[in-house]
Each structure stands twice: as structure tokens, then as C-alpha cells.
Assembly symmetry: C2
């Protein structure tokens, strides 16, 4: 199974100055691509914490996507941290440097030159019509934190992560979780390949619990939903989708 | 300094079935209370991963707030995981059990009884007018995942976390980050007690970079902003707030 982890880097998220859009965006994209997202970590702009998170994410998932901490200022430490996590040096990418020289000429100051910094051995991909490259190192994709740039960068490479889709069904119940629990336990035991979730509501919705069934095998997913449905009276079910 | 970590537990967030509201809500609340949020982790409904995250969050912050995984069904494993993280047993809370017996009488099935489960030694707080207790174990506050219930639970206890406020200033610049970088470096070096962030934009906003200054000492925060402002021509600044 193809798995992923997301690492959101930025004091501005932790201090609630801005709401993170990148984690939810990547979660939706990965789901649509059939990739199983295993964890999201949000950490400050601090090298030791980023290194620790990158290593943990790599240990728990095939792909790691980082968001934020790319740029020319003091709080942009992601490149340095990822290089250190892999025991690599930070070097200047020749392709990026050539573009920066063409653009800035004599105004290519040290801060602008930092935009060419990458971990040694990184893949730096420019795509026609886009100003910024997508940088990756082994299975870590390093994306910028500005949401429009992150979406643009991810969209350029998204198809390389596509795997078999995840099928899903949902049943909405008038019963509460406590009444459903034993039937859910039986369904979980009978269909180990299907991920089953139970989500209660306490508002004025038309249902009290939504039960979801997720899996790679569509037939198993449908069978699990049928199995649970058949254990309960028809009046307990609002709808299935 | 009072620090916190947030642990969001739930497959439904990772699979993008629902967008997490609880992490952002708690981040805003903690900020308003003057608490320094150090990390957010989002993990699946899996006991070993929750134990690992709880321990890491406790090692990096004074307070840990968990969201989700509370309830009577198979995917509600937070109580068991937190108990294990502390080497405690799961026990039935007598106060909760009494209320459940009064409510359900002969209908108190095993699933409903699970609602009384807590880690041994947990603090279980009922508040007048609320159905659910707030459960905590040492410095871990265990909140439900349903956003309305989490907000309700946190609001009942929020004042106990209040510490000295964090002061903040922001300057909006017409210059880009590369032009500001050396001046930011000088400001960072001069005011080590002030957290300085630089946030570029690439859209049609009236500014290209927002620089923020955060700290416990209001005078230092104002001085840091003035120091940076005075290094740059007035025309470079759109506004300060």
C-alpha cells in the first residue's frame, strides 16, 4: 500500500496567525490519488524539530510532503533541516542559479542566492510556465508554504503518486453509537481488509451516526456495508451512499 | 513559558472525509490564553501511534490536548492509548457510571458502559448544565472529536491555562523578502527575545511581505518593530499594526 505523511513547517500556523490550508489540501489530493495518509505533523521553524519529524515521517510512510520554510529569510530553514536529516550538505543548484543570474544580474544578493540552495543530490524540476521549481530529495517532496504556490507545485507532479483507488461506502443511522457498537464489532471482525469508521452527531441532522467503509477491494467494501445493514432493522437506516 | 501540544486522533481527518476544526480552534484559543503551541500531530485511530505521539507531546510541552477517539465503538481507542502511555489501567469512573445507570437503567449495555472508562487516576469533571465530563490525566486533557463538544469542553476549563499574554506587531512591506533579508537578520540578532516571522505574498495584495514580531515583553516587541522600520525607507512600508 502506498502511504504518505505531511509535515507542515511554520510558526504562523502554531500561533494561529494563519489557518493551514496546505495540510487539508494535500490530504484531499492524496485521498483522490489512492494514497493512504498516515500522519500530519505541524512543527515550528526549528531545525532539530524538523529533522526529527522528517525522520519519523519517512519511517512511517513511503512519501513525505513538506510545506513551508522555503525562501530567503532567517525563518526559512527547511532546506537546511532536510539536508541534515539525510546527512547531506546544502549546495547551490546550478539550474536555479543560472535563472536567478539571468533575472537579477548585478542585484543577485546573498538573500536571492539562497533561493538556489538545495540539499546535495536533490531533484530540481522546472516546468514550462512556472517560476518556481519543485524540489525533492529521495522520497521527500519539499513544497513552499504559500498556498497558491504549494497547490501549483503539487499539481505539476501529482500524477506520479497515483495508485489504485480507495473505495468508500457510508450508511447513515437513526440509532446511536451504543446501539450500533456490537454490530460494528461483528462487521470489523468479519471484514479485516475494510477500514470501518463510526462518526456520531449531536445536532439536528437527519442521522445520529454515519458509518464509513473504506478499502481497495470494492466488492469487500460493498459486502461489509451489506453485512452491517442486514444486521439492523430497515427503519434504523436513513440512507446509504 | 507555558507550552502546549495538540494531538488530533482520527482516520476521518487523514482520509479527508472531514476537515479538522479542532486543531485550528485550539490553536486560536491557546494563543489568546498566552500559551505557546509547540506542535500539532494528527494520527490514525491506532493505539501504538497514539502512545508514541502522547509521549512525544508530553516531552515537548507542558500541556497536551487530545481530540477524538472517545466513545463506545471499536474505533474509539484514545482512553486505552493514554492509559497505556502512562502505564495505567483502564477503569470505570464511578461518577460517570452512576449517571449512566440513572439514564439507561436496564439498557446500560456494554457499549454504553464504555462511556465510563477512564485511565486509572484520571480527573473527571462534570459541570452544571453539560452532559459530558472533561477527562484529564496529569497534564493531558482528553477532549471529544465532535467539534461542538470539544469547544464546549475546552471552554469550561480554558481559564486554568491562561498565562501572560503574547504581544504582537506586524509591518507590511512593498519590498520582497530578498530585499528585506539582511535587515531581518540584523533585527533577529538584536532582539533575541522577540519571535520574528516573514510571510511573502505573490498575489495582488497591497504588500509583498508581512513581518510579524511576537513576545512576552511589549516594549521589546515595539522596539524590534521600530528597529526594522528605521532601517528601511518610509516608502517601503505600507502600514504597521
Amino acid at each position: 500500500m502506498t502511504t504518505a505523511a505531511i509535515l507542515v513547517i511554520g510558526n504562523e500556523i502554531l500561533s494561529a496567525k494563519v489557518a493551514d490550508e496546505n495540510g487539508p489540501f494535500l490530504a484531499r489530493e492524496l485521498r483522490a490519488l489512492g494514497v493512504d495518509l498516515r500522519r500530519i505533523e505541524t512543527v515550528p521553524d526549528e531545525v532539530p524539530l524538523i529533522i526529527d519529524s522528517v525522520r519519523r515521517c519517512l519511517a512511517s510512510a513511503r512519501w513525505v510532503f513538506t510545506s513551508g520554510g522555503i525562501g530567503p529569510t532567517h525563518d526559512d530553514v527547511t532546506i537546511a533541516a532536510i539536508a541534515q536529516a539525510f546527512g547531506r550538505r546544502v549546495v547551490l543548484d546550478e539550474g536555479t542559479l543560472t535563472l536567478l543570474k539571468a533575472r537579477y544580474g548585478d542585484h543577485l544578493n546573498p538573500a536571492r542566492t539562497r533561493l538556489a540552495e538545495v540539499p546535495e543530490g536533490a531533484r530540481v524540476e522546472f516546468h514550462e510556465g512556472y517560476l518556481f521549481p519543485v524540489i525533492s530529495l529521495e522520497n521527500v517532496v519539499i513544497l513552499p508554504g504559500v498556498p497558491s504556490l504549494l497547490r501549483e507545485g503539487f499539481t505539476r507532479i501529482r500524477e506520479r503518486f497515483r495508485v489504485a483507488p480507495i473505495f468508500t461506502r457510508a450508511i447513515y443511522f437513526t440509532l446511536g453509537e451504543a446501539a450500533l457498537a456490537e454490530h460494528l464489532d461483528a462487521t470489523v471482525a468479519r471484514f479485516p481488509s475494510v477500514g470501518i469508521g463510526s462518526y456520531p452527531r449531536f445536532d439536528e441532522a437527519d442521522h445520529r451516526v454515519k458509518v464509513t467503509f473504506d478499502g481497495r477491494n470494492e466488492s469487500d467494501v460493498r459486502s461489509a456495508a451489506s453485512f452491517l445493514r442486514d444486521r439492523l432493522p430497515p427503519g434504523a437506516i436513513v440512507r446509504e451512499e
